[in-house]
């Protein structure tokens, strides 16, 4: 189905939900103020529903708003976002009956910086970007150029394991996308693993020297839902609020341990970072560690216990003396 048809189906479903009073709010995407961008739309007004869009730029993981919006909510989700909702249900932050999940099978989200690098133009200079299956057509000054979709998707979308939502009430399209490029999505991690431990430490030290501790990564993260974050504790004060690289790095290490088993590799932290720290190279490694050690993938089963509140009698303990 074309994006336009999905959009129509979404709008009629959303309207019906609001009209029947089944939900108080709809959370979805509307066109952003800049070309090729979208922005979250949270509304209880039926007149706003026509603004809902589905396109290859619906980048945000909207499940982060679920813990903030009171009442029953209809929400538009992609594969990874639906798993975030499942982890929120597992952690009892959201009740399943309070959400109506409008699932979008997601063939990957287009990374505009990759497009810019590929065509060597600023996003404002592009006329159009259209996706047709595994090809993307970019129009600049009236000239169309075709590229494989895999070259312009976000790293975390490449080789996506679960493009179709795991949990949904309405699936807006039937097709099940296959996203190529598994190897490319691991590239940055493999590069780091090829380094010596000293080089890796030096790498992260460098990256986190830029961190301004704005906490955008934490605030955008659906898995980071603590009422009070450990960085704001003052008795005892675990880490200094001053953005020195040591504390920045410590903050991010602990954040990653806290979201272990909740992180679905949606990539929002890295996109939110104003100083471009490659945060996904941390979160994805934790995602892989959890999978390797315990065969646990976040957000697969809403009945399952969260990773760190469960155990098996026989488990990896070769590191214990």
């Amino acid at each position: 189905m074309k994006d336009g048809n999905i959009e129509q189906k979404l709008q009629s479903e959303a309207k019906a939900l609001l009209e029947s009073g089944k939900v108080d709010y709809i959370i979805g995407f509307e066109a952003g103020s800049l070309k090729f961008t979208t922005t979250p739309l949270i509304t209880n007004n039926i007149a706003d529903i026509d603004r809902l869009v589905i396109n290859p730029f619906i980048v945000n993981n909207l499940s982060v708003y679920l813990t903030e919006v009171k009442g029953r909510v209809g929400i538009v989700v992609k594969g990874c976002d639906s798993r975030s909702i499942v982890t929120l249900i597992q952690d009892k932050q959201v009740a399943r009956e309070d959400v109506v999940i409008l699932g979008v099978p997601c063939p990957g989200i287009i990374d505009l910086s990759k497009v810019e690098r590929l065509v060597g133009k600023d996003r404002d200079e592009l006329d159009d970007i259209t996706r047709d299956g595994d090809r993307v057509v970019i129009t600049v000054d009236g000239n169309e150029t075709e590229f494989p979709t895999a070259e312009v998707l976000f790293d975390n979308c490449l080789g996506c394991e679960f493009p179709t939502p795991k949990e949904y009430d309405v699936l807006l399209d039937e097709f099940s996308p296959l996203v190529a490029g598994k190897a490319a999505s691991q590239e940055s991690l493999e590069k780091l693993k090829g380094m010596t431990p000293e080089q890796r430490w030096e790498f992260w030290k460098n990256e986190f020297s830029r961190c301004i501790r704005c906490y955008a990564c934490r605030n955008i993260c659906p898995a980071c839902f603590c009422e009070r974050c450990f960085v704001e504790e003052s008795e005892p004060q675990w880490i200094s609020p001053v953005p020195r690289w040591q504390d920045n790095l410590m903050f991010q290490i602990i954040r990653n341990i806290h979201v272990a088993g909740r992180c679905t590799d949606c990539g929002e932290c890295e996109r939110a970072c104003p100083v471009n720290i490659p945060l996904r190279s941390l979160t994805k490694e934790m995602y892989d560690i959890v999978d390797d050690l315990f065969g646990f993938k976040a957000g697969m089963d809403k009945e399952a216990a969260p990773l760190l509140t469960a155990y098996a009698l026989e488990e990896a303990e070769d590191f214990i003396r």
Binding site: R200, L249, I253, L282, L293, L307, E315, A316, I320
Partner: protein
């Protein structure tokens, strides 16, 4: 006269109150010898040990951390050490990926009757840390006497 001090690793031990702490006590009362590198913090259960404690110790310049609890099945609270095991497993792997030597994060099961084992564990961990060397990971604002090495 300037004294040349040989560098000795500093190790924090988080010992569970029911098993490992009693095991450490037994090591003392049975006059077992083990290196004085360990600074012991008693915790109610190995499950109380937040990965944040481990990080904080390293951040403060300790050279290693030992978390020790009851053997699987022997936890006073039935299951605390199982949770600890999962948490330490992911912490250790993740820190290794960041570039922290996995030797610095140690765990052991020591029961209240294993004074001998406690002495052995501390000896082995201290020896391992000596090979790894001083923790300069977060250096540049730590006080100097903490990193004093042989000149």
């Amino acid at each position: 006269m300037k004294q040349d001090l040989e560098w000795e690793p500093r190790l924090v031990g988080f010992l569970c109150k029911w098993c490992s702490y009693a095991g450490a006590d037994l090591a003392g009362t049975s006059r077992k010898k083990y290196p004085a590198n360990i600074r012991v913090i008693r915790v109610p259960c190995s499950g109380r040990v937040d990965p944040l404690f481990i990080l904080k110790a390293l951040r403060l310049g300790f050279d290693g951390v030992l978390v020790s609890g009851c053997h699987p099945g022997d936890c006073h609270y039935q299951t605390g050490n199982y949770y600890a095991r999962r948490r330490i497993a992911i912490t250790k792997k993740f820190l290794e990926y960041i570039g922290i030597d996995p030797e610095r994060i140690q765990a052991s099961w020591v029961s209240a009757s294993e004074g001998g084992k406690f002495a052995e564990v501390v000896t082995a961990v201290a020896k391992g840390l000596k090979e790894v060397g001083p923790n300069k990971l977060f250096a540049d604002e730590r006080r100097e006497h903490r990193t004093k090495t042989t000149k």
